[in-house]
């Protein structure tokens, strides 16, 4: 937990303006936010934990659960939507047994639905960590996941 203190020390500014940058830094470091980190941040910035929690849950960037080794983002921007991104999502739900915002129990995969990823020309798009898959089809999902699983074994 002293990693949090380190982050907090980097923010000399002790006011509410710093809250979002601090949360972003903490999440970058740990991958998610925990009750404990909220308390520390709150003590540093003199803010009640409820306010920090309320703020963090307002924004889609923040999560309270660790992400999987492979974080899958499914674009559901307008262009991807009309190109049937919901089917892709459904297939991922089925293949992984998780829904938006969850991670598989083995910690391998997590799933997130995002707004436009910026490649509407290539819709529908998904991303697994930093690798993008333009023009994916829902029937190709299982293969993709299998490849990752075998690679990992």
């Amino acid at each position: 937990m002293d990693r949090i203190d380190q982050i907090l020390n980097d923010f000399r500014q002790v006011n509410r303006d710093a809250l979002i940058p601090v949360l972003q830094a903490v999440q970058d470091e740990f991958g998610y936010l925990s009750g404990e980190s909220l308390e520390k941040i709150g003590a540093h910035l003199r803010l009640p934990a409820s306010k920090i929690y309320g703020l963090a849950t307002f924004y889609s960037q923040f999560t309270f659960a660790p992400r999987g080794k492979y974080h899958i983002r499914v674009c559901n921007g307008t262009a991807c939507h009309i190109d049937r991104s919901t089917s892709i999502l459904k297939e991922l739900n089925k293949q992984l047994g998780i829904v938006d915002g969850e991670a598989t129990r083995d910690g391998m995969f997590s799933l997130e639905v995002v707004a436009c990823m910026g490649a509407c020309g290539q819709s529908p798009v998904i991303a697994i960590n930093e690798d993008y898959y333009p023009k994916v089809r829902s029937s190709a999902i299982r293969g993709l996941l299998d490849d990752i699983r075998t690679k990992h074994r």
Binding site: D17, L55, H81, I82, C116, G118, A119, V125, S138, S139
Partner: protein
């Protein structure tokens, strides 16, 4: 990047830049400019569009392939990255320029194409296959039989002012920007103009907020400028939260210094010494380039304390928006910068009087601010000469969906939408028919293909029941479903509403539920249910009025727009969904009935294993059967069946 030009050498020449007329520049400066603007190059120049959509399409790999190619053959050439030229559906884009010759652009470049293209170009022939065209330049030798970009349908009707350097300039090079004339306007402004003068010039130019607000920018600035306060702020709104809008991103990734210069001038005009760029955290590439640009400007003394002895101080910092559509709304954005939930506040007071930290704050959109250097440099009359009386200047549109070409288009205001859709982007994709275009994102509206002949302008659009908004255009063809699209937007809005006020929070929720119902099969064949849905639909229009009338911010006020305009133009599609339970374009899968043809099915079990709903039953090597009540119409069985035994009606 530019090796033979010592980086920073242009820094020393900035005073000369500001004080002298271009005709009197020293030979040293002239040569430097020619070098940096690539007018005269000494070795081949290769550029790859490394903007976000290019990267996703594989531009990074193309870039590496080019580097590898050059290294292998020991060719001395210059490589640089650039932004999006605007042909997003044709990425990756690669351009090559040989000394003395015009630059040639190639599109849809795959890693395998790199060798072919470069081999040919270095042997002074231009391969036809992935060719787009060449950039016209009188000072260079043109290639034979290669079309000029300005002759292509996509470019010929555009008027590129803000996008002029996009896809051409190296966004990471402040030298290149300065060589192209950049920052001169800002540095002259702070020397020779008063704050009022700039505000007045802006007002005279008639520039209106490009976020879709349509508010006169100069007028807004004047309010902040004249509100006394010891600290004022300028905020560049780079949240660009509309799905389907990507013009701000393109401007930031393609030409960040243009935006920075706009921010500098705007900050000066309102008397702000602190400026912020509020940008969504997902825009990694924009953040990277803006940070680099700010750092470079600081190094050059263009930002900081007592800028070029003018007495003006300015710092720009970046705030990463943690992801909420509503934070595009200015009061919510300010709340977010103050470390609060991004809930909009009642206006008045307007941010121009009482904004960030209760101080006068101007929030302007990226595209708005990118216009500023051009207006101040060329004068308000020049700007008013473009566009129409009410709507001056150009507007950038981002086109996505089922268009033949998808990408960025900059046209003068007042151009007919028909020209944009039919001529510039070439209508719908081959073999498809254009059905409608949806403009303005989740609070926009749609226009059927037959009603596109309206000039691009805030008021004309509003009168036609559409919304110019930020300029996102979604092209729909006969295989898209209007009801589904409206449902999508409403679902988006219900999730993105901040939830503060009742009409918006509850209204979007109720509407979304009803649209969900319409696109789903009723549990039992029930006439009553149908009537309920229809009655619900009738209620929606009244509800939309109340939402518009009473919601606190634009989100709730406009959330019902897509629905209302769709009901207006495509009412029969809604009725078809409700009464016939049929979706003609076959998009609302839950209305489909899938079945397996007994004759064709070999009983291979593949579909049963893949069905996400476990809706397919049967015994191996015997025909399988779909349980209609369980099937949600995802279509996977049809996709995976090797024997094409799955059908739907």
């Amino acid at each position: 990047m530019t090796e033979e030009v010592h980086t920073g050498s242009i820094k020393k020449l900035i005073p000369e830049f500001i004080e002298k007329d271009p005709k009197e520049y020293s030979p040293e400066l002239v040569e430097l400019i020619e070098r940096l603007t690539h007018l005269k190059i000494l070795k081949p120049l290769i550029m790859v569009g490394l903007n976000t959509s290019g990267r996703i399409a594989g531009a990074r790999r193309v870039f590496e392939a080019v580097t590898g190619y050059l290294k292998e053959r020991d060719i001395d050439a210059e490589m640089a990255e650039t932004g999006a030229i605007g042909l997003n559906s044709e990425e990756p884009v690669l351009s090559v320029q040989l000394p003395g010759r015009t630059r040639v652009l190639f599109i849809n470049v795959a890693v395998d194409d790199v060798q072919v293209i470069l081999d040919d170009v270095f042997h002074h022939t231009i391969p036809r296959e992935k060719l787009l065209g060449q950039i016209r330049d009188e000072n260079m030798d043109a290639w034979q039989d290669v079309p000029f970009l300005d002759e292509l349908a996509f470019f010929s009707r555009q008027r590129r002012i803000l996008l002029k350097q996009n896809g051409i300039i190296d966004p990471l090079s402040i030298d290149a920007y300065i060589a192209h004339g950049g920052y001169r306007t800002f540095l002259k402004t702070i020397r020779y103009h008063t704050l009022e003068e700039i505000c007045v010039m802006m007002e005279e130019s008639g520039l209106r907020g490009r976020s879709g607000s349509g508010f006169l920018t100069g007028k807004k600035w004047m309010v902040a400028q004249q509100t006394p306060a010891e600290q004022k702020y300028l905020v560049c709104n780079a949240e660009e939260s509309d799905p389907g809008a990507f013009m701000d991103r393109a401007l930031m990734e393609g030409n960040p210094h243009q935006l920075i210069e706009g921010i500098c001038i705007a900050a000066y005009a309102i008397g702000a010494t602190k400026a912020y760029i509020y940008i969504r955290s997902e825009y990694n590439d924009s953040i990277r380039k803006l940070s680099a640009a700010i750092q470079a400007a600081r190094d050059y003394g263009i930002l900081g304390h007592n800028i070029f002895f003018s007495g003006f101080n300015l710092s720009i910092s970046i705030r990463k928006g943690p992801g909420a559509f509503v934070c595009g709304e200015e009061t919510a954005l300010i709340a977010s910068m103050e470390g609060k939930r991004g809930m909009p506040q009642s206006k008045p007071p307007y941010p121009a009087e009482r904004g960030f930290h209760k101080k006068p704050t101007i929030v302007n959109n990226v595209e708005t601010l990118s216009n500023v250097p051009h207006i101040i440099a060329n004068g308000p009359e020049w700007f008013r000469g473009i566009g129409t009386g009410d709507c001056t200047g150009t507007k950038i549109f981002s086109v996505s969906g089922r268009a033949r070409t998808r990408g960025l288009i900059e046209i003068p205001m007042g151009t007919s939408l028909e020209v944009l859709v039919q001529e510039i982007i070439g209508g719908s994709q081959p073999g498809r028919t254009l059905k409608a275009v949806h403009i303005g994102g989740p609070y926009g509206g749609m226009l059927p293909a037959s009603k596109l002949n309206i000039p691009v302008c805030y008021e004309t659009f509003r009168r036609a029941g559409a919304v110019l908004g930020a300029g996102g255009i979604l092209v729909l063809d006969e295989k898209t479903c209007v009801v589904d699209l409206v449902k999508y937007f409403m679902g988006f809005m219900k999730h993105q509403s901040c939830g503060k006020c009742i009409p918006c929070r509850e209204g979007t929720k109720r509407m979304s539920e009803l649209l969900d119902e319409i696109t789903r099969k009723p549990l039992a064949e029930d006439q009553h249910d149908t009537l309920e849905k229809f009655r619900g639909l009738m209620q929606l229009e009244k509800l939309a009025d109340v939402m518009r009338d009473t919601s606190l911010c634009g989100l709730g006020q406009l959330a019902a727009n897509p629905l209302i305009s769709a009901l207006w133009h495509f009412r029969e599609e809604f009725e078809e969904h409700i009464f016939d339970r049929h979706c003609k374009p076959n998009v609302c899968r839950e209305l489909r009935t899938y079945y397996i043809d007994v004759e064709l099915c070999t009983g291979c079990t593949v579909c049963a294993k893949r069905c996400p709903e476990d809706a397919i039953i049967g015994t191996e090597r015997h025909p399988y059967f779909i349980v209609p009540d369980k099937c949600t119409g995802c279509g996977i069985c049809k996709e995976v069946c090797k024997f094409s035994a799955v059908f739907y009606n």
